[in-house]
């Protein structure tokens, strides 16, 4: 046996907290979660092995279907819209210089300093269909706004609208990427007679593609795990839970209810594993697609 060098021993001393955390709070729970997902553990009675029963139930549970549908719907709207808007803001920020850009950047980020519960509460007021500010604002233009908080068809669009208030960090990331696009390139293209759209398409966008790719992944993962705002808005006490049906049922909300409201912890573990696999697959696909689209030259400039 080779003697372990003291340096290596010290290295592991420094890594010890990480290793403990990894085993106790990451790997251990992941394995435990997998084991639990094959049981009907409910914290009060003694658990029994149910095989793949929980997974079979997942596939048949209409609530899971609804929750998946809502979550996908929200993600599919939230991610492109928020990135398009953030990109528009970042492009405009990039055109003005000096202190003003900094002030605007601060303002755009400010909503992101509002705890999600407070965001949910605030929009419960703003989105009220009869008296809320949003519909009163639309009313100024003669538009009769929908019933955002009570019409099941409009609850999700309302939540998307709320999510668009929170795009400060996406804007900052894209703005930072834009500032690293060397101006010589666009100037050169301009001299070559390239139009504005052409310059954006063939120079700016490729140069910031890695940043765009990054915000797509980050926003997708967090959208799939949406919880705080909707839970605060629509899942308070029993009255609130029952008066909105399942229109605002998101996947993690359902998982949380199963685990901690009904104490169906085995079933919740199965739901958690399904979520984990889905996020893995989506991320892998995005990375694969991203590799093809992202122009990595940009990295060198950004570094």
């Amino acid at each position: 046996m080779r003697r372990i060098r003291p340096e290596t021993r010290w290295a592991y001393v420094f890594l010890l907290p990480w290793l403990i955390g990894l085993v106790v709070f990451q790997l251990g729970p992941m394995v435990a979660s997998l084991v639990l997902s094959f049981t009907d553990f409910d914290l009060i009675g003694s658990p029994e092995f149910v095989g793949l029963g929980n997974y079979a139930k997942t596939a048949q549970d209409p609530k899971v279907l609804r929750a998946v549908g809502n979550t996908v719907y929200y993600t599919a709207l939230h991610v492109p819209l928020s990135i398009a808007l953030a990109l528009a803001l970042a492009l405009m920020l990039n055109r003005i210089t000096g202190r003003a850009a900094g002030v605007f950047r601060t303002i755009f980020y400010l909503p992101s300093m509002t705890p999600y519960v407070a965001v949910g509460v605030l929009f419960l007021f703003l989105l009220n269909g009869q008296a809320g500010m949003v519909n009163q604002f639309l009313g100024l233009f003669g538009i009769e706004g929908p019933q955002w908080t009570t019409d099941p068809d409009w609850i999700l669009p309302g939540i998307v609208l709320m999510s668009l208030w929170n795009l400060g960090s996406t804007t900052i990331i894209l703005f930072a990427a834009l500032r690293n696009v060397p101006r010589e390139l666009t100037e050169a293209a301009m001299i070559d007679g390239a139009g504005r759209w052409q310059r954006f398409r063939s120079i700016t966008l490729p140069m910031i593609s890695s940043a765009v790719f990054f915000v797509v992944i980050i926003n997708t993962i967090s959208a799939l795990q949406m919880f705080d705002q909707v839970y605060a808005m629509f899942f308070g006490n029993q009255i609130a839970q029952q008066s909105h049906g399942d229109a605002a049922l998101f996947y993690v909300v359902y998982l949380f209810q199963q685990a901690f409201q009904f104490l169906h912890m085995g079933y919740a573990s199965a739901l958690a594993w399904v979520l984990f696999l889905v996020i893995m697959v989506i991320t892998l696909i995005q990375v694969k697609v991203g590799n093809r689209l992202v122009y990595y030259e940009a990295e060198e400039h950004a570094g």
Partner: protein, 457 residues
């Protein structure tokens, strides 16, 4: 307590114990937890922790003071806040629950069947709790499987509350409104309703669906659950007819989506309540809304009427909160004394007196305190509550008292939560126009019956 991966957990236990020993933040949890932790020293009877109960008014504080006076050695920690199912079950599961919990009586069956709350028969006989004093409907809701699981508090009745101005605008004498004639009621609702430019200005008649579906069904002569709590009857044609009727009422007044958003802007308990501001024509409501209005708007021009079934007899779906003792409570004996004190006739009468004195001092109207205790109510309404000179409220007292005997409840069930959710979901779907009443209730019936069967097997 879970027996799960003992090996790994004991390793974690050591680690975590070390952490918590030096944990600054964890340390301050001790004092506010109010003794359930450090109470061991004084033995049983030294402390009591409550959940789901607040101290918003004199009705609460006077009774808590009565307990403190009777048991000065007990350290009472009241964790204010509404009952929260998730927090409650987590507390029970963690093995460190509060000693006594305050919750809606309709939930008791579910928790009793699940073993989350304890039977109280010993407590009732040991402390000689006068259960015979409680209204029969309140008794029924506090028992499960023949055993006492709860001690009831308030006794809320449902009445029809009319905005006289709206009725007169519609050309109707408010006192003549009769809920037994459904066709006339529907016409009246439309007449009292006011919509301008797509915006609702006055909700003509608020039938309080889906919450009050059991009442609507009863008014149409049907029960939604068999007396033994084992057979759901949600697809009974009479239930479907009631839902259909109430659903069309809402539809004809602008649709539920708008009306719901409109009702969310109502402040029933303030001076700007929807009756004082003429935003509601009439509604079915628990009497505590009337009670609050007596305090905030003594001169409101309203009429309180009994709800009648289609044969013209009064119907009244009663409810209210109750005290329960969770499984694993550290001080069930103290909890038992607490429940007895809080609900005894003497305590209620003292609280009702305090309310009457306070309202009198403030120059406000008092319509009395409607307790679950018959004896207390008899004294309160003969000795404490005096005519105020505000006819609307004095008549309201008579109306509420008159419908108390007609009180019925949905029988307790092991799957009460799932059962309620099934019909409420169905009611919502109908109101939102997603489903036809018959389809919705058929589906609800299946879900409900399945849940009941699973819970009682």
């Amino acid at each position: 307590m879970p027996k799960y991966h003992p090996g790994r957990i004991s390793a974690v236990a050591l680690l975590v114990a070390a952490l918590s020993a030096c944990g600054g933040v964890g340390a301050n949890s001790g004092d506010s937890r109010g003794g359930s932790g450090e109470a061991g020293s004084g033995g049983a009877g030294s402390s009591l922790t409550t959940m789901g109960f607040g101290l918003p008014d004199e009705i609460a504080t006077v009774r808590v003071d009565a307990f403190r006076k009777a048991y000065p050695d007990v350290k009472v920690a009241i964790n204010e806040g509404q009952f929260d199912e998730q927090a409650f079950l987590s507390a029970v599961a963690s093995g460190n629950p509060p000693d006594v919990v305050y919750l809606g009586r309709e939930r008791i069956g579910s928790y009793a069947a699940r073993g989350a709350i304890q039977p109280l028969d010993d407590c009732v006989s040991r402390e000689k709790i006068a259960t015979g004093d409680f209204y029969p409907a309140a008794q029924q809701q506090s028992k499960y499987d023949g055993k006492w699981y709860a001690v009831p508090e308030f006794y809320n009745s449902i009445v029809l509350l009319v905005n006289n101005k709206a009725a007169k605008d519609a050309g109707v004498d408010p006192a003549s409104i009769d809920t037994s004639d459904w066709d006339a009621l529907a016409k009246l609702a439309e007449k009292m309703n006011r919509v301008r430019d797509g915006r609702i200005e006055r909700f003509g008649f608020y039938p309080k669906l889906p919450e009050f579906l059991p009442l609507w069904a009863k008014a149409n002569g049907a029960d939604i659950l068999s007396a033994d709590g084992r057979t759901a009857k949600l697809d009974d044609p009479k239930v479907v007819e009631a839902l259909d009727y109430a659903g069309r009422l809402v539809e004809s007044q602008g649709g539920w989506k708008k009306l719901k958003a409109f009702t969310e802007t109502f402040d029933y308990f303030g001076e700007e309540n929807p009756f004082a501001t003429d935003r509601l024509g009439a509604m079915l409501t628990e009497q505590f809304v009337v009670s609050a209005m007596a305090g905030t708007t003594p001169d409101a021009d309203i009429t309180v009427l009994p709800v009648k079934d289609r044969q013209g007899h009064p119907v009244n779906n009663v409810g209210g909160n109750a005290w329960v003792v969770p499984k694993g409570a550290k001080h069930p004996d103290v909890a038992c004394r607490w429940m007895k004190t809080m609900t005894s006739a003497d305590t209620w009468i003292a609280a009702a007196r305090a309310r009457a004195d306070k309202r009198a001092k403030e120059g406000k109207v008092n319509i009395g305190t409607y307790t679950g205790n018959v004896k207390a109510d008899d004294v309160i309404f003969s000795e404490v509550v005096k005519p105020s000179g505000h006819k609307a409220y004095d008549d309201a007292v008579k109306t509420i008292r008159s419908v108390q005997q007609a009180g019925f409840v949905v029988p307790p069930s092991a799957a009460a939560a799932e059962f309620t959710k099934a019909w409420q979901d169905a009611g919502n779907r109908v109101l939102l126009g997603e489903r036809k009443p018959a389809d919705a209730m058929k589906q609800a019936q299946q879900q409900a019956q399945q849940a009941i069967d699973e819970a009682t097997q």
